[in-house]
Amino acid sequence: MIKEGDYVIFKKTDTMKIFPVKLNKPFMIDRFKTKLDNLVNKPFGYKYEIKDQQLHLVQNTLSDDMNKVAIFDKDNRNLVDKSANQKLSHDEIEKLKQLEDISGTEIIDRLIENSASFSQKTEYSQEKYIKKKKEKYLAVFEILKPTIRTLSEYYILGNHKRKVLNMRMDTLAQILTYSNVAAYRNVVVLESCKGLILASVVERVAGFGNVINLSPNGSHISTKEILDYMNFPPEYTQNLYNFPLERSDKLDEYIEELNKKLAIATDDTFRDKQTKKLELAHKVNEIFKTKKVDCLIIASKFRPSPILEKLIDSMAPNRNFVIYSLIQEPLIECHSFLKRTQKAIHIELSDSWLREYQVLPERTHPKNNMDCCGGYLLTGITVTNE
C-alpha cells in the first residue's frame, strides 16, 4: 500500500515519471494538474485516472487484444495512401488540448471524426488507432512501486540511460547472481549508476551483512538517488558504509591521519566528524585487512583494471567479482591482469542479449526494436596461491 513519503512511478505507454507522495501538493503531469493525497492507502500497480485533480483507481479490464484474433480476410487493398488522412492540423490538435473542459475521450472522438481513412481501416487497425490515441490523451497512469525492477525500466525508458551507464535489466540481474550477493556477505561496490547497483546490493543483503560503497571522497551523492527512491527500512542501510575510494589502498595511513586530527581536535563538531570517520575507517580496515570481502562489483566510469588490482587482495579466496563495462577493451585489460597474476579462475567475458516478444493470438512475434547495447561483464572467482 502507498504511504506518505513513498516515491511512486507514473507510467504511461513509454514514459515513466517519479514523484514523492506529499499531501496537498498539486503538480502538473503531462497536461493534467493533480495531487497525490488520494493515493495514500491505495495499492500500487493499479491504473489511476486523474479526475478533478485527484487520482481514482481504475479497474483493469481484460486486454481486448488477447481475446481477438486478427482478421486476415479484411485487408487494406483499397486504402489509398494519402499524407493528409488527418484533417486536423497539428496546431488545431494542440489548441484542442489546451481547452480546459475537454476530456481525453472527446479529443479522441474529434480525431476519429476528422480522420479520412478511419472508416476504411480494418477493425483491427481501428482498434489499434483508438488504443494509441487513448494512451496519448487519457489521463490514466499506472502507479508503480519503485523496485529495482521498475527503476531499472525507468532509467532505460527515459533519456536516463547514460546515468546508469546503459545498464540493462538483464545485465544488472547477472551482476547480482554472478557476484553471489546475498545475506551475510561483505560486499564492496564501486559504481557510477546513480545507486542502481548499490540499491540492488543493499536489498539483497537486507541488513544481514556489510555493504561498502566506494566513491571519490566517500561521497554518497552520486549513489543516493536510487536509494532514496527505494525508501529502504533503516535496518537495510545501517551497515552501508560510504568510504573514500582514494583511501581504500592506504587504510593504515588514513587511520593514523584521523587519529592525529582527533588528537588535536578542539571543536566538538569536528571531533564528532573525525570520530565517525575513524569508526568507518576501522570498520572498512577490519574487512579489508582480514580479507573478508565476499563480493566485489565494479561498474564505474573509471578504468577498472588499476582499481581491481588494488581491491582484489582484500577478497577472501573462492569469492566472486563482477566488472561491468560498456566496451570490451577495459575488461580485456582486467583479464590480462588476472591471468598473469593467477589471482582468479573461471574468468569469463560475456555480453547479454535480451529481446521482448509480442504475444497475441495470431500476432506473436519478437518486438521490432531491441536494445543492442547491454555492455560486457567480466566475472571470476578468486583463488589462493598459498
Binding site: P216, N217, P306, N368, C372
Partner: protein, 331 residues
C-alpha cells in the same frame, strides 16, 4: 542509367540519391531547370548533369554527395508504401533461393519494391522477375518506378490477388518469394508455377503463427527441407575511448563537486548517440556526426566498436523449402 548496372556520370532523367548521412538520403529525379533544396541550402539539377556519381556537390551552405540509385541505396531511401524488406533479409533470401543471372523469379506482393530491385539486380540480364501486387495503386507505382530506373526489361508487374486467383503460371519459375498476410493460401499455386525440375520457395512473415501455417502447408504439398530462420544485422559504431584513471593520490575532497564531478567528462562513448549534435557542426557535410567519432591523424587514439543502442530486433521470419523435380513425385 539503370539501377542494376553501374553508371559513371549523371544524365538528365536519372533517379539519383542525395546523401547527407547514414540515415538521411533522398532520391530525386534529375530535371534540367529544377532546383533542389536541402538543409545545407540548394543546388541546381543542371549542375549534376555530367558529374561523376560519387561526387561531392556544393550547396549554398554545405556539401552533399550524389550517389547512383542501387538496390541497397534505394532500400534505405525509397518512399515507403508498405513495410519493406531490408538488405540483411534480402541477402539471405537471394542466397537461399539460389538466384543468379538467368533465374526466373516470382514475387508477391510487390509492396514498396525494395526487394524487387535487388532481385532484378541479381537475375539480370538473362533472368526475369514476375511480381504480383493486389493493391492497384502500389502496382502502378512500382511499374512506373521500374521504368524510371531502367529495369523494366527484366520485370513484369501484375495487379492480382494471388491468394484467391493464383499466379496463373505453370512450370516457369526457379524460385518463388511470398510476402503475404496469408502466405499458405498461395503455396499451391506457387507449386504449379515452379519449373518441372523443381525450385526453391521463401516466405517472409512477421508473426510466428503465419510461419506455422506456412510450414504445415509446405509439408502437405510435398516441399522438403523446410526450415525457418531469423537473420539480423547489428551495426557497430566506432568510437574513440579514453576511460579516465582514478587518481588514488588526488585529494578528491577538494575536487569540485565531490563525486559527481566528471559526470559528463567520462563517456565520450555515448555522446553522439544521446545528445543531438549542435546545428553549427551539422552545417557542413560530416558523416561522422551520425555514427562514428571523427578519426584524427594521431596514431595514439584508441578506437572501439560499440553496437548502436536501439536496432531492429525483429523484421520477420524467413521460411525456405525445396520443391524436388516434379516428374519423380509419387502421386
Amino acid at each position: 542509367m539503370s539501377f542494376c548496372k553501374t553508371n559513371d556520370t549523371i544524365k538528365e532523367g536519372d533517379t539519383v540519391i542525395i546523401y547527407f548521412s547514414f540515415n538521411q538520403l533522398q532520391p530525386i529525379k534529375v530535371k534540367r531547370g529544377s532546383n533542389h533544396h536541402t538543409k545545407y541550402g540548394s543546388f541546381k539539377h543542371a549542375d549534376l548533369i555530367g558529374k561523376k556519381y560519387g561526387s561531392r556537390i556544393q550547396c549554398t551552405q554545405g556539401t552533399v554527395i550524389v550517389l547512383q540509385g542501387s538496390p541497397e541505396m534505394w532500400t534505405i531511401s525509397l518512399p515507403h508504401r508498405t513495410q519493406i524488406i531490408y538488405t540483411p533479409n534480402i541477402s539471405v533470401i537471394t542466397m537461399q533461393l539460389d538466384l543468379k543471372p538467368g533465374s526466373i523469379v516470382i514475387e508477391s506482393g510487390t509492396g514498396s519494391a525494395s526487394l524487387s530491385h535487388a532481385l532484378i539486380r541479381t537475375i539480370f540480364p538473362t533472368g526475369h522477375l514476375h511480381t504480383f501486387e493486389f493493391h492497384l495503386q502500389r502496382s502502378e507505382t512500382a511499374r512506373k518506378e521500374f521504368k524510371e530506373h531502367d529495369v523494366s526489361d527484366y520485370v513484369t508487374v501484375y495487379h492480382r490477388d494471388v491468394c484467391s486467383d493464383g499466379f496463373g503460371k505453370e512450370d516457369l519459375a526457379d524460385a518463388v518469394f511470398l510476402d503475404l498476410p496469408s502466405p499458405w493460401k498461395a503455396i499451391e499455386s506457387a507449386k504449379t508455377a515452379i519449373k518441372r525440375e523443381g525450385g526453391r520457395i521463401c516466405s517472409f512473415s512477421p508473426c510466428i503463427e503465419q510461419v506455422q501455417k506456412t510450414s504445415l502447408e509446405l509439408a502437405r504439398l510435398g516441399f522438403v527441407n523446410i526450415f525457418t530462420v531469423e537473420s539480423l544485422r547489428r551495426v557497430l559504431s566506432i568510437k574513440k575511448y579514453d576511460l579516465p584513471d582514478f587518481d588514488f593520490n588526488m585529494d578528491w575532497l577538494k575536487y569540485k563537486g565531490n563525486g559527481q564531478e566528471n559526470e559528463n567528462q567520462n563517456d565520450q562513448i555515448d555522446k553522439n548517440e544521446e545528445k543531438p549534435v549542435p546545428k553549427k557542426i551539422k552545417k557542413n557535410f560530416n558523416e561522422s556526426d551520425d555514427s562514428d567519432d571523427e578519426v584524427d591523424g594521431s596514431t595514439d587514439a584508441t578506437y572501439t566498436a560499440k553496437p548502436i543502442n536501439i536496432q531492429p530486433g525483429h523484421t520477420g521470419f524467413l521460411t525456405f523449402a525445396t520443391l524436388l523435380h516434379k516428374d519423380f513425385h509419387k502421386v
